[in-house]
């Protein structure tokens, strides 16, 4: 059985599944309950300057029958007294000495940082996470994402923290920035032991069409919130990968963003995360999802022969390359399994209206469409929208002997260079005449 234990920049935990800082880590009660259920660590809901929260704090994005495909919040950091939180951290550590308890912090002045670091260390925290990500409320007061978006300020604060901290420091980054490696490098330059990402994306989750105000509506008004949940995983995966691949960001990464199942976690880990943090999925389904996460990841690691977490971390990075490194000679073509096809013809209309007019309708005796192979560019669209598993598959049609990338061609000086260059792609591809549009019903 794979060994899931981790040592993350000196913070040890029985497994890589940590609760991200947020409502599920608001109290010792919740954290103890989570550890009882099997979670390996918890980043405490951010401690810091005093706040007042509003009522009506969350908004959701539903997609078809799925609730909370996306989620946003306008909740601030903890509104519980610091003394209560410190006492509870101490109590949790008493019962769970081997689990990771990390104090998320957000204060303003250097003196405040000094004090609060001393407090959480005295309470027995295993590490500190600096919340430089919160994109609502706190940033208006010069904290949270206001820091994360200013690399110089970020670096200075990290330097203050490193001056005082005796325990490992994690810097949590905001994705509300053009290039995530810039604040990541600033954190490393400031001496941070590790980074975590992503915090939430600045968002308006929807508009109340009757109240004419953004959700969540607070007495007739709304504000931007922080977006998270399954919808943000693609953004998170790419940012984790960018940091993991940057030679200057050579610190452990805790992956956050859209993780709900072992598969999501495995993706983060393969792209360079050595622990993962989860919040929204717990807010949706409770701590019990750990029952699926741990055995799922263990089974996958056993299947792939990853004995330890270190064996698995970043294993997809060599294959995550720039576009110019992709093989231009690779060719796939869609294939419809007529026995599996249910005749919805969504592939037809998708290809016809949204792609390359490479699917034909059948005669009247069947509803199974056919692929016009000479038109198919192998874009995958039909296979993605097909509602039947394994009905439309993308079949490799090149013989695998040829390999040529844009970079190869650049070096060989064979890339197309003018607008109507003979060497450009798509030249032989069939496109109907514009007026053929009138012939379709």
């Amino acid at each position: 059985m794979a060994d899931l234990s981790v040592n993350f920049a000196g913070i040890k935990a029985p497994n890589p599944f940590w609760l991200a800082s947020g409502p599920p880590t608001n109290s010792g009660y919740q954290v103890m309950k989570a550890f009882e259920a099997g979670w390996g660590g918890a980043v405490w809901k951010t401690l810091g300057v005093p706040v007042i929260n509003v009522s009506s704090r969350y908004g959701g994005v539903n997609y078809r029958n799925a609730r909370l495909a996306g989620f946003n919040n306008i909740e601030l950091i903890t509104d519980r007294p610091l003394a209560d939180n410190l006492r509870e951290i101490e109590e949790v550590k008493k019962y769970f000495p081997d689990h990771a308890v990390i104090a998320s912090l957000m204060v303003e002045t250097k003196e405040e940082w000094r004090q609060i670091i001393r407090d959480v260390e005295n309470a027995g925290s295993d590490g500190i996470e600096l919340n430089f990500g919160c994109p609502h409320g706190m940033c208006e007061r010069g904290m949270g994402s206001a820091v994360g978006q200013e690399p110089a300020v970020l670096k200075t604060i990290v330097e203050w923290v490193m001056e005082y901290a005796k325990i490992p420091v994690v810097v949590k980054l905001t994705p509300n920035i053009t290039d995530i490696t810039v604040p990541a490098l600033a954190a490393v330059a400031g001496g941070a032991d590790s980074i975590s990402l992503i915090n939430t994306l600045k968002s308006i989750v929807g508009v109340d069409l009757d109240a004419l105000a953004p959700y969540p509506v607070v007495d007739g008004r709304g504000t931007n919130g922080g977006y998270c949940g399954p919808a943000v995983k693609p953004v998170a995966l790419n940012m984790v990968r960018e940091c993991a691949q940057h030679p200057g960001v050579n610190v452990p990464i805790s992956g956050i963003g859209g993780i709900e199942t072992w598969r999501d976690a495995a993706e983060h880990i393969l792209l360079g995360a050595s622990t993962v943090q989860i919040c929204t999925a717990v807010m949706h389904f409770g701590f019990g999802i750990i029952r699926e996460l741990i055995p799922g990841l263990e089974r996958y690691m056993d299947e792939k022969g990853f004995a330890t977490m270190n064996d698995m971390v970043g294993k997809a990075l060599p294959n995550a390359v720039e576009w110019k490194m992709l093989n231009l000679k690779h060719q796939v073509i869609a294939n419809i399994d007529a026995d599996k096809c249910i005749g919805c013809q969504l592939c037809y209309t998708a290809c016809e209206d949204g792609a390359h007019q490479a699917i034909a309708l059948p005669g009247s005796d069947t509803r199974v469409p056919t692929i016009i192979e000479e038109n198919c560019v192998g874009c995958n669209l039909c296979s993605l929208i097909c509602p039947v598993e394994e009905c439309i598959t993308m079949e490799k049609v090149d013989d695998g002997t040829q390999h040529e990338t844009w970079e190869d061609r650049t070096l060989a000086c064979t890339i197309p260079t003018t607008f109507d260059d003979e060497r450009a792609g798509g030249r032989e591809h069939y496109v109907p005449a514009p007026t053929d549009a009138f012939k379709k019903k």
């Binding site: 078809r64 029958n65 096809c341 005749g343 013809q345 037809y348 209309t349 509602p387």
Partner: protein, 440 residues
């Protein structure tokens, strides 16, 4: 003991006749509508006689636009609510749903349809604006599905429409002939009231039309539409057919629909026939508490005209099927004591009784679902109106009869089909009438 206890109170009656397709709540509709694939050239639409844009109205339900969904439905089908409940969706839209090919439950189109339309009916939402009065008048004979469809469509075009109904209530078979567990009287009548309020056609009930009245219509109206349906049950000439406990299925269902819990039924009932009406009559007898309901059909089970799901419904409430038998006499002096049946065989497609195979099935009531007669006598009095050899009214593609002043659709033309067929034909007929009048 029968499957269902004899109902003695209104509540027990309603429990035995619980709606097969109850209204969806908004959560169920949200989830169910989310499953629709929005097929291209959707098979469900092609399977609907009225061609409702089903994927569109389901999408509208999902986005919370129930008024828009109802409008999409009514644009194609003026009895959208009733059809959602009474249509044999299993063999129409839902039977065509592509999910069937994947062994996934098809979308519950009928229930989604009734859900959206129920919302506009209960809120009396005005969805249509009739064209200004064009000064032309059309008389509609029969306030059944065909007649109502014609009335709505013509009012939209600006015609004055007067509907004449022989019975006490409008709706035709939707209220008089469909099994009560498919639609309640209230639901059927509320939709007609909603349409009438919105479109402003008149309905005069208890107003049978005879040839003399028709003569008046010919001068008072620019066209006449005949949506007269079929007549009473055809009764075979066998001994005992006049006994008081012998009834036609159509008449039996009508009595049940009008008198509900006040109807009583004996413990042993024989239903003769193999069509959907026979299934309804048998199922209803069992739901009324009859302990032994025997369905006797002269051919084999697979030759029944009834949809398989209708037979399943009857079997579910304890009805017993008896096939390849036909009645030769009903026994009894003042009341029914049983039916004399004889076994049959089918030779060259024709049913032949087998000599000496007779047997007796004791019962106290016989319901004959042996088809309805055509109203040949009444129709014969209309000058120049030709009938098909089977007694159906002869019409062209615009549902115009051989007497150009008369149009007809529904059961009187198709010989007896579904509510949805009558609605579809009525819409075409209305446009035929419009063309006839505007081109005259």
């Amino acid at each position: 003991m029968a499957e269902l206890k004899r109902p003695t109170t209104k509540a027990e009656f309603e429990a035995n006749f619980a709606q097969l397709k109850p209204l969806m709540n908004s959560t169920e509709a949200y989830y169910e509508s989310s499953r629709c694939l929005f097929c291209y050239d959707a098979p469900c639409v092609n399977a609907c006689p009225t061609g409702i844009d089903i994927p569109l109205f389901i999408r509208q339900i999902h986005t919370g636009d129930l008024n828009g969904a109802a409008k999409t439905i009514y644009d194609s089908n003026w009895l959208g609510h009733a059809c959602g409940k009474v249509c044999p969706t299993e063999v129409l839209c839902e039977g065509a749903c592509v999910f069937n090919h994947q062994h996934i439950k098809p979308i519950e189109i009928g229930r989604l349809q009734s859900m959206a339309t129920a919302q506009v009916i209960s809120s009396n939402k005005k969805l249509y604006q009739c064209a200004p009065d064009n000064g032309k008048k059309v008389a509609v004979v029969g306030a059944g599905p065909a007649g109502l469809s014609v009335a709505c469509e013509l009012r939209l075009l600006g015609y004055t429409v007067d509907v004449y109904e022989a019975k006490e209530k409008p709706s035709g078979l939707t209220v008089y002939g469909v099994a009560p567990y498919k639609i309640t009287n209230e639901e059927a009548l509320e939709e007609v009231e909603y349409l009438q309020k919105q479109f402003g056609f008149t309905i005069t009930c208890n107003s049978p039309v005879d040839s003399e009245v028709l003569k008046g219509f010919e001068t008072d109206y620019d066209a006449v539409f005949l949506g007269i349906g079929l007549g009473n049950t055809w009764l075979p000439e066998i001994p005992g057919i006049d006994l008081p406990q012998v009834t036609g299925a159509t008449e039996f269902v009508e009595k049940l629909r009008m008198q509900h819990a006040a109807t009583t039924i004996p413990s042993d009932v024989v239903v003769i026939g193999g069509g959907n009406t026979a299934m309804d009559a048998a199922s209803e007898s069992a739901r009324m508490g009859a302990e032994n309901v025997t369905l006797a059909y002269r051919r084999a089970k697979h030759e029944m005209g009834a949809y398989p799901f209708e037979y399943d419904l009857a079997k579910d409430v304890g009805v017993k099927g008896l096939f390849n038998v036909q009645p030769i006499a009903i026994r009894g002096v003042d009341k029914v004591e049983g039916v004399e049946l004889v076994r049959t065989e089918v030779v060259d497609g024709r049913v032949h009784p087998i000599e000496g195979s007779g047997f007796f099935v004791p019962c106290e009531m016989v319901i004959l679902a042996t088809g309805q007669v055509k109203q040949i006598e009444f129709l014969g009095e209309i000058e120049g109106l030709d009938l098909e050899h089977n007694g159906c009214i002869k019409v062209n593609a615009a549902y115009q009869t051989s007497n150009p002043h008369y149009f007809a659709a529904g059961d009187a033309v198709n010989g007896g089909a579904e509510v949805v067929n009558a609605v579809a034909e009525g819409k075409v007929a209305a446009h035929g009438i419009h063309q006839y009048i505007t081109e005259a």
